[in-house]
């Protein structure tokens, strides 16, 4: 049977935890690189955060940059950034200006470009407003993370919450690193994209953890935690792949249509952040969140005891049976709490977490 057939049937038996000991090193390296990148080349924040004025006008007169510059110098805007885009627009960006200077700038832009004043597009943000937007965004992010951590702690457990947050941090930092590396502009739309990424990454992680929890109940007295995590990830693998594909396809078409085909620049950064983020989110829920959880839980006294017991049961030698041999559903195991055999703490504590099952 080919790997794809196995995947299609949900019969894969990858040892994710073992694989991810290597991928975690790669992830850690990427995170460190991204952090360095962010320090060396700070994010290119749009005027929405920093305050400033952007004036866009169609270059009907076909003037070149020098002409625009000299007319800007005439109104005391020598420091303005001037850019001519490929599709015949003049972009002028300045620091935050007062109302009178804004009007002056619009008038100058219209004159130099040979258009009507009302054809000039202006986007002006005062410095305090920009600061407020930034503050609101950071505040939203922090509160979001706290609430999500509380929710996962409540529905699952706190170590899962921490593992999920680790995956989130991984996604965020690497996305930030990529933006810093290429100097992409961070706009409010990008912030939305980042928040969406958080949502996706979390959703994915929740699905994996949900499966892990379910399998803990079914398999706890025969398998180690790592094996349970492995089984769970093999079971959700196709879901993860399919979900990220069906999410990436619309976003990919947004990226393609929005930025290349139709030239709607506002969409480009947004779609790009989404695209990178969703891909990272899928990756991190499988290769960061779940392994971190497995490695961490494996150190708990209960699960150490469980591992020793399982090893003893399987013949006393050091043979490790991967989760590959675990049937996808262990229907024969009664769901009712069974008396723990031996001194296994895991068996004794797992039933406590049992929720009402179908």
């Amino acid at each position: 049977m080919s790997v794809f057939t196995k995947m299609y049937r949900g019969e894969t038996h990858f040892d994710f935890v073992a694989i991810s000991k290597k991928t975690l090193i790669v992830s850690a390296a990427l995170v460190v690189l991204s952090l360095v990148m962010l320090l060396v080349r700070p994010l290119n924040l749009s005027i929405d955060f920093t305050g400033g004025v952007v004036v866009t006008v169609e270059n009907e007169a076909g003037v070149d940059i020098a002409v625009v510059r000299s007319s800007l110098e005439g109104i005391g805007q020598a420091g303005a950034r001037v850019q001519l885009t490929g599709d015949g627009l003049i972009l002028i960006q300045t620091e935050a200006l007062d109302a009178v200077s804004q009007d002056e700038l619009v008038l100058t832009a219209a004159t130099v470009a040979g258009t009507d004043v009302n054809a000039v597009t202006i986007d002006a943000v005062g410095p305090t407003f920009g600061a407020e937007v930034t503050q609101a965004a950071i505040q939203a992010l922090v509160v979001f993370l706290i609430v999500v951590a509380l929710f996962i702690t409540w529905r699952f457990e706190w170590k899962m919450a921490m593992a999920a947050l680790a995956a989130l941090a991984h996604d965020l930092i690497i996305t930030g690193g990529i933006f810093a590396l290429f100097g992409f502009v961070v706009t409010p739309a990008t912030v939305i994209a980042i928040l969406t990424i958080l949502g996706y990454s979390l959703y994915d992680t929740v699905v994996v953890f949900d499966k892990v929890n379910e399998n803990v109940e079914l398999m706890h007295d025969q398998y180690t935690y790592t094996e349970i995590v492995n089984t769970s990830m093999n079971q959700v693998l196709m879901r993860s792949i399919n979900t990220s594909l069906t999410s990436l396809i619309p976003v990919g078409s947004l990226l393609f249509v929005g930025s290349f085909a139709l030239g709607a620049h506002t969409l480009r950064e947004f779609a790009l952040a989404l695209f990178i983020g969703i891909a990272l989110g899928t990756y991190s829920s499988i290769f960061v969140a779940a392994p971190v959880l497995a490695i961490w839980k494996e150190r708990e006294p209960d699960w150490i005891a469980e591992r020793k017991r399982v090893e003893r049961k399987r013949g006393g030698n050091k043979t490790v049976v991967t989760a590959a041999s675990v049937p996808t559903k262990v229907e024969t195991v009664p769901a009712a709490p069974s008396a723990p055999t031996g001194a296994s703490g895991a068996a004794a504590r797992a039933p406590r977490k049992r929720k009402k099952r179908r």
């Binding site: 986007d123 879901r239 976003v251 393609f256 709607a264």
Partner: protein, 493 residues
Amino acid sequence: MSRKKALLTLLITLAIAWGSIGAMLLAGWAPKLGLDLQGGFAVVLVGPEGTDPDTLDTAVEIMRRRIEELGSVQEPEISVQGERSIVVQLPGVEDRERALEAVGTTGEMSFRPVLDLVLESPALTDPDGDHPDNLDADGLSDPDDVHAAIAYLPSEDGAFVYVVGGAFLTGSDMKGGRAQFSGTGGHGGAGGWVVVPEFTDEGGEKFRLATGELATFPVGSPQRRLAIVVDGVVGSAPEVAAGVSPDEGLDPNQVVITIGSSDNPQAESEDLAAILNYGALPTTFERERVESVSASLGADSLKAGLIAGLLGLALVTIYMVIYYRILGVIAMVGLTVFGSLLIGAIILLGETQGTTLTLAGVTGIIVSIGITLDSYIVYFERVKEEYHSGRPLRPSIDHAYPGAFSTILKGDTVTFLAAVLLWLLAVGPVKGFALTLGIATIVDVIVSYYYTRPGTWLVAHSALGEGGWFSVRGAMGKSSQPSIPAESVEVTS
């Protein structure tokens, strides 16, 4: 689940989803487009520190009136945001300069002596008479010239025209005013709602002199009244009370303005106090954010969003149908149910709350395609899992649902939480995104329960359950054996 129950649930769901969107579209309702999609102009104005909410409301009222006078704006949206910001959104506005002027200068408050009270502007009743310059078509004066020696200004309800003299007191002479219930103040000592104006020292002195002058006119004469004017409209014109000495005028520290006969004297006194506070603002509003989108840019963005959405949908359809066969078709039909409900909710919010669909909202919808398809994938993968563990096909369909639904519910809860938080905490475009995302998660749960479950059940129990490659069984992959193949026990040391 019985066939009858499944069929009934499915039909009701489809009828509600498709029926409501169909009815809305037939009624000519469509999502209200935001500025960034239809082009237009937006300004955020910020008042000085400590501006109270009533004052902001007064400013909003004045701005709205001015914008409506421009005529060309279809649906201006002017609202207070946060503590002291006013957001003015003018979709489709063409003359930006005039619009900016209208919201930028919201008119000064002044106290002016009333010279006469008439039903129509004297310029209309007596075209040949001697009138002030710069009158508009209705024969009314320029609101911005408060010092004109003579001006024709309308009352608030437009029923009268006041002929007033030059202002003797302007906003800078005021500290503000407050509405209060006075046990003895109004209506000849019977008690009632009054407004207590507060003057600066200089303003108080001006007020004393002016009221002294007004007091020389007989009680009941229009000339004994003083007009409180905001932005060229007489908000109130109280008469100087009988018995005030022309030599002394009114003591500015003890003056109260009583509210005449009114249906709601409390509201009226509060309005007047808000006008006085508004007039007393030390500075006008600062333009904090100006944003304009040309109509063509807006249309391009909308087009890009729509084309991207459709292209994405087409590609996703191909993928889902190839991978999940007939189940993929169920998912795609489900997507139309989801889309109908989502768009329906957005239209409804637009019609009732004035909520607009922005570019961020459109991207929210595109993102939610992924969210809702995931719910199908979670379910179908679970069905396959059940099936491969040796359960027969149809029981697998039933058995997989509760677990799948629980996962969907948890995932949607996290996303919903995120959306609510975003909506509460964020500003501007992020809000629009949060709104569509939040609605999408709710709709997703509803669709999963009332569409996906009965729909899948019915298909599995129909001819399409077994009929070859495209059937539900076809989507399961070949094996129907309990799968504990010996080869997969990989023993490592």
